[in-house]
Symmetry: C2
Subunit: 342 residues, 2 copies
Amino acid sequence: MNADITISLDAMGGDHGPEVVVHAALMTLKRHPGLKLILVGDETVLQQTLTKLNADVSKFLTIHHASQVVGMDEKPSSALRTKKDSSMRVAINLVKEGIAQAIVSAGNTGALMATARFVLKTLPGVDRPAICTTLPTVSGHTYVLDLGANVDSSAEHLFEFAVMGAELASAVEDKKSPTVGLLNIGEEEVKGNEQVKDAARLLAASNLNYIGYVEGDGIYLGHADVVVCDGFVGNVMLKSSEGVAKMISQFIKKEFKRNILTMLSGLIALPILRAFKKRFDPREYNGASLVGLQGIVIKSHGGADAVAFSNAINEAVLEIEKNVPARIRQQLENILVKERLV
Amino acid sequence: MNADITISLDAMGGDHGPEVVVHAALMTLKRHPGLKLILVGDETVLQQTLTKLNADVSKFLTIHHASQVVGMDEKPSSALRTKKDSSMRVAINLVKEGIAQAIVSAGNTGALMATARFVLKTLPGVDRPAICTTLPTVSGHTYVLDLGANVDSSAEHLFEFAVMGAELASAVEDKKSPTVGLLNIGEEEVKGNEQVKDAARLLAASNLNYIGYVEGDGIYLGHADVVVCDGFVGNVMLKSSEGVAKMISQFIKKEFKRNILTMLSGLIALPILRAFKKRFDPREYNGASLVGLQGIVIKSHGGADAVAFSNAINEAVLEIEKNVPARIRQQLENILVKERLV
């Protein structure tokens, strides 16, 4: 099934370095027979890591040398200028050259976006690529974008995000016309800033399945399949949601450890706590898409472990199979043509 | 202790109407002997509600008639123009006239802010009043503002919010120099939008205890005593946090109901679930302050029950006792004088 799929991995990116990426690659190959993965990074280090994990290169797992690494706090402009042989850049180059169909990186988000944009270019009509991920809801999950690639997004940018997010959701979920909501601070017409109000008009006039404003809690209550917002707002929303979940989980752990009785009840409640963890484990939701580029670029969480990174590779497999960039390109062309005709 | 304190209550505001407010008033009077509360609204309805709750007016609980009610979705401009005898407006007038020292309302937030601003006026030097509330953290709680009064806040507005929030926290918590963080999408200098970067420079040069950027999760991890942001961002943050908490709580409830074994473990885990509820119950955190006005205005959640509304009245009592508006006025004057000298 995955016989013709090759994915390049930035094996040096992320907080935990190559061991996580190599381990994730080995895990993923077991899940997808026929899939080919390219580990991009320091050849010696990667070979050593493989050996340490009792594995070796094969037809399905190769090493592509790159001598540099982009720092997690490095400025995107500096990475672009001075790190032309970084694992990140070389992995992206492999997509540009058609050797791989997608690249996955747990590295510096800003540098990944800047480099991918520079090397792969944006799709025709896209002014600003965006970061899109799924978040769990009471009834399933929802696609949210932008999560931090853009600040000060205009109404036109928000509209672009909506087109791209809806197409991504439609492709990956096999859903014909996903509902699209615009994140706002109230559901009434009069609320919000000018960008959001103008974007609402553009969306209402489009052929997207636009359902109106969604408030912050509406994301998790599943009010729309796709929720669109500026990257500053989306990033704060995402991180604060993570903060709440972490706080609650710390609290529950502490309470269960309070005394022998609570420890006992914790033991009995274990299946529930496990189900909870599985349902809301950020690792399950790892793998954000950089949409709007001429190629598939998946961003893994910097702190991802092997399970999480493997999920990000899965997301890449899925987007290759569903031909996501071509679908977004087609949809953008349809809309641009329609706009020009109007 | 509360012998000289009088608070006016917008008894007709909120999703649940006068019964919640009257019930909350009766609860609060038991907690604060000597406190005087004025129920503002339709005299007949309020008298009936008192009778229904086996209570009556007294020296401590009086009714002040107002013939109109501001709708929960009514435009602030319409409320200002056409609802001059609304329970909200009349309750605010009582503060203006010095009859009450604070007003509490669960009504329409936009109308409350617009009316309070029109009637009470802002403190000298305040361009935009803000909405501030406390949120729970792993180690206590944190003050966050603005939560939705202002969109498109400039660097100067963010600076103003910081001054007001820090003074509120300092007064209410008896904390000399609370730490102040600026909400951003990364902790590095290069990240964020221009308003936030400029505000960071203003804060770094001020006498506030500014500790730098805080990310969304930092709010709940207790990274700063006061977190400052634009109202659009703050409102989305608050609502999405509520959404996550609701989703998690729904999930846990459902899991515990799955079968007889999980129901049993839920029964045993009951004290923990109760502790969880108590710790994160939004009712405990009810009562946001409209800071920057010449008077104390407390906004209760529209859907508040009597316990929650009573907590909002408590917040009003506390701010009266701590003389919050006078302290904010003094602090603003200090800073304005300092700025002019520089």
